[in-house]
Symmetry: D2
């Protein structure tokens, strides 16, 4: 059993990581870090949590717990200043260490890239102990488009995410009165997942995120000009994946089938009028877009079965 510390456990990605760790047959929870909940019992976060779990400690104490794996579930600013201990696997769920170019990292995150490796297991195997977990939007866009790298010159990615993607801290923009029965684009043409997608794809991307009135789930509709056989390329790359499903012709991805899971769905279409290739990816922003992928990355770094602890089964309505 490898031991685990979760830092920033009171946020959405922290709680979801905890969910996967508790179900993981080879991980053992050692420390629950949260500065806001330090000193409180686990059920202060959620009454479903067993009283026998370790109580919350402050993040510094959790970091010093000597765990084999540390999950950083902070905002990027806080993750940027975290100092890893030797011999510890660290998975950073924030954006702080995703951009590998120093200038880009400075511009978008005010941080330096350092020795972190970008881990999107189906496409970019993480190396070393320090792993930058991809953004939720970037994961969806890359699952859809990375297999076409070299065959496209640019892409339009129109993405839509549930509100949990914006984090648990109360903000005017995530107030239910602004979200319910509403829909809007934000950070139009200037969201920081755009350079992340472009970095891994090798071509520039026009990216527009939108806020859906749903709790969880993300769907990206990607438009590219290419002479590649898109369906064939995608089916090839994900043929043996337990995480990514390429749907049969004519079936479109939708949120319901991926919500609460760590799976992703891809649909492939061709526009009748323009011949544009349209690849649609649906995933759960807190699952494959965050905690699920973090566990996948940790599994690889620890030499465990890649999908151990993931939520991949079931056909809930």
């Amino acid at each position: 059993m490898a031991t685990v510390a979760i830092l920033g456990c009171a946020g959405y990605t922290g709680q979801e990581t905890l969910d996967r760790v508790l179900a993981h047959p080879q991980l053992e929870l050692l420390a629950l870090g949260s500065d806001s909940l330090a000193g409180k019992p686990p059920w202060a976060l959620d009454p479903r949590l067993d009283a026998a779990l370790p109580a919350f400690v402050c993040n510094d104490e959790a970091a010093a717990s000597g765990a084999d794996v540390v999950f950083l579930c902070f905002a990027a600013d806080d993750a940027a200043t975290f100092t890893p201990t030797e011999c510890t696997v660290v998975v950073d769920l924030s954006g702080a260490h995703r951009l590998l170019d120093t200038a880009a990292a400075r511009t978008w995150y005010g941080s330096a890239p350092g020795a972190w490796s970008y881990g999107l297991p189906e496409l970019f195997t993480p190396a070393g102990l320090l792993i930058a977990n991809p953004g939720c939007y970037a994961t969806a866009a890359l699952l859809a488009l990375a297999p076409l790298a070299g065959r496209i010159e640019s892409a339009v990615v129109d993405a839509k995410s549930g509100v949990s993607g914006a984090g648990r801290a109360p903000k005017a923009t995530s107030h239910a009165g602004s979200v319910l029965e509403n829909f809007l684009p934000y950070a139009v043409g200037e969201h920081r997942h755009a350079p992340e997608i472009a970095q891994q794809l090798g071509v520039p991307v026009c990216f527009v995120p939108h806020l859906l009135p749903v709790r969880r789930g993300l769907l990206a509709t990607c438009y590219v000009q290419t002479d590649a056989n898109v369906r064939e390329l995608l089916e090839d790359v994900y043929a043996t994946s337990a995480v990514v499903r390429v749907l049969p012709e004519g079936i479109a991805p939708e949120l319901t089938r991926v919500q609460g899971t760590d799976a992703a769905e891809l649909g492939v279409f061709t526009d009748r009028a323009t011949g544009t290739a349209i690849v649609v990816c649906a995933l759960d922003n807190l699952g494959k877009g965050a905690a699920g992928q973090a566990i996948q990355n940790a599994n690889l770094a620890l030499g465990l079965d890649e999908t151990a602890g993931l939520r991949l089964h079931g056909v809930l309505v």
Copy 2:
């Protein structure tokens, strides 16, 4: 006072047209047509309706009522077989008469275009008595892009609509259990509003509609390559419009401000990475996307003030 007959009044567009007619200072309701409600009092449709309104009659009877204006609130198949009476203004809210090319009309609607005029008042003034009211998606895409006609070679239109756009008849796809907390694209690359947009725009359009978990409202995010000054062109075209608002720089359209109204909002952006022009349009699919525009078209055909009877005021939360 001009007299009005509404055919197909029990559907969503029928009820919304009725809503505008009742508030219109120069229109008088003469006949409420509905085959399913024929013989019933008006409040059988909605308890808010005054018992003093005319009772429902079957659509044929409403058509023969001698009204000055007939609103066809049918599905396209039924609207296609409607025979207009001389000297009557007819506004068809279905798609039956929107495509002007015979082959296209046959392919997409199984109907013949005939002598109908496409009426999108801000851009395409209707002529004659028979007016084809634009589709909700087409209205949004055209408000965003038509002012750029001649300056673009193609467009990607990624659109999202509330469920009322699919009509009131119960279907598996509009079951709340399939819509709530869900989001998905449909008719990907082959929706019949694509040829409608292309026809008015003069260039091919890659169009993908999506189903939002909201009751009403539609937002289209449009991507084009152009050397035009997009903001300037749009502000020019809509400078005096009481219906279409071009939002100040940095403000994005959203559903809440247009729901329950006949107004539309436009936002103009440039993508930082690719220079792509992004024009976003929000409107209410049942307002400017259907009943509101139908009233506008009828007003023009009758020589009335273009915005009489429209819902254009208020700042509801």
Copy 3:
């Protein structure tokens, strides 16, 4: 024309009051008060607002504007400390002045009742210049039950409200991630609208509010034992009301028909097993439950037509 100052205009009730004032034929907006928006143009609150309206000023300045009517759209704590000017009509939309008993007012609001009059026009006509506008839950419960006063000994009121009832300030409990696809009771058995209902009804009330995943709208299901003919009593009281509709037998109130309006719906039922009388009231918490009623109260105090400026028409889907 009477002149109006709105204090706390940036909140939900403030914005909705502004909406009604702008549509009111006999009210003229003199001052827009908001400490957070002071110095900003009106469209800083909402891009739909005309640039020609007065700019925001701080609340103290708005209070000193000399307006004939002041709408207090504050939280109760702030409203409690407001000092009215002579000869000015003041409508307090908060709870600060609703409880007439000094001890109750202290307990629930930490405020003193003073010379304020409770104004629920259909049932309790306000007197004097200082009017306490009822709570949204209390309005619904009282519309349902007050006509039965003297014929009941107690009541169970199970109420459900949309999230705008909790105000615009971001809080953990109004975060969309906590509200969407969720439903829960809160302040169970100890909400401060309970003593307000009891005060006007004359009997104790067991009141439980719940949070609905909707933006606006409120429904109260009220259970009483009585030998009165409930339907007859209610139809009598509201026979001539333009605001309150008693629905025909067998039809239940629902949110859609009252959202965005200042109307209320009542449904009357008898339980088959126990004979319990069940009265259901639906209204918009921001309409009849707040801004609409505030305008009604101001109209009465100014001697205007009671329903001037209200949103009472239309049959939106």
Copy 4:
């Protein structure tokens, strides 16, 4: 391994039962019955289903498959006419066999009770092979109130359910356009779960169900006059339950924590003004309210661990 046939598998309760069976360590799927999907592969129902599962057959064929356990996931009318085979465990998820009194069964379901046993494992252990699975509303009300039987004389149960409770067949009342941003009571004072609750509780119940704009989840707020120590009684009954959680004082049940699970939550409160005991129960109408309980009942009938195959773990946001 016991073998399983699911009849009516294409509906909501059928699909959810399938979900639990696939995860069950001691159940093996033998036949998937559905008249509408007969002849089609499993992924015709849901693309997540493994192609290696048995194809759909018509319900009669599934019934004759010789399975050890049959789950009837029909509407009540169809379940009423089902003839069980000897030596087979049959769990009927419809209401056809819940009412034990012949007259009541006739009145509410047009069916005869026969030799079926009511199975709500925590309270009423099923006996024999033929098990009537309780209604979702009845389950919630009984979990809240049955421990108080003998200490109460009647109850008010105000319940609210997500739309999946109404089944998958498209109807006007489950159209998303009628459900989204809406809320309403239905079958007020005359719903057929009322006699079911009363039958098990021994006292009459005033029951009003409401339709929530959520996909899944149900919450019942129960009001009783009693001199019992309600919290003590409930904590006692559920002390060792893995399914039912009595929440600590001051914490209210909510849908999010039970959605997609087979667990139930209870909250206990006392009204400050009237002393009324308020017990709130939250569960998933498709989980503990249907498929989860059906599996629990089958487990008991087969002598397996009661909670085998259930969804009881996790702390999803």
